[in-house]
Amino acid sequence: MSPRVKTPRKIQNPPLVKGFKPYGPGSGKQNSEPVILLYEEYEALRLCDYEMYNHQESSLMMGVSRPTYTRIYASALQKIAKAFVEGSQISIEGGKVYFNSDWYHCGGCNCYFNNPEKEKEMKNCPLCGNLQITPFDSEMTMDETRINI
């Protein structure tokens, strides 16, 4: 029997850097293998410890169940601890993920737009300034938006 298929995890903010390097006298061991931190683990850590959401809220944002989220989070902590203690590099890559930010639709000029700054709430259309904006759920039409937007 084939193993159960993993649910794709939704990532809102991809990391700014590709990884981290240790420095100092103990960091000379370049032959040590880098710790691979998956994108989903980075996102789990960001949501919980940077944005201060709880596991339930974070799991909803990533589109996985709460137990799955907790497993991803635990794995992230374990990997980071391993890298810190052993002084190895951290490389952020891979994982079964897709990227998405919040999309909106404007009724005034019939355009779609995203909100790059999540801290601020969108009030009016960035194009025509119309107030008739509605959240556009790109999950529903994921396949379509992947190709068309």
Binding site: P14, S101, C111, L127, I149
Partner: protein, 105 residues
């Protein structure tokens, strides 16, 4: 604030290009000073990597918004991390002049 618009030509009456990476021309419009700048897309006929090269081009002009017909799979996360807003106008034949008029609202 600067806005980039993808264009099919280098005049105000050109239509908005529905593609981002392979558009003919980028129009950089400054909403404050109301200046318009046309930049021909050097990556128009490149085989691959047009999207990220185009992102670099517009990001070097420090734009805050990009108006286009569509954005590819690789471009969306890139623009997300650069905090550049994407505005998609789908299935509408609008000219650069129309867009600038709407932006000025």
């Amino acid at each position: 604030m600067k806005v980039a618009i993808t264009s099919r030509g280098n005049t105000l009456s050109s239509l908005v290009d529905q593609r981002f990476g392979r558009c003919a021309c980028f129009v950089i419009y400054d909403t404050k000073s109301r200046t318009i700048e046309f930049i021909p897309n050097p990556n128009k006929d490149a085989e691959e990597g047009t999207g990220s090269a185009s992102v670099e081009l517009v990001a070097s002009r420090s734009v805050h918004k990009i108006v286009s017909g569509s954005f590819g799979m690789k471009i969306k996360p890139l623009l997300d991390s650069l905090k550049i807003q994407m505005i998609v106008i789908k299935g509408q034949e609008k000219t650069i002049k129309d867009i600038i008029e709407i932006l000025d609202h």
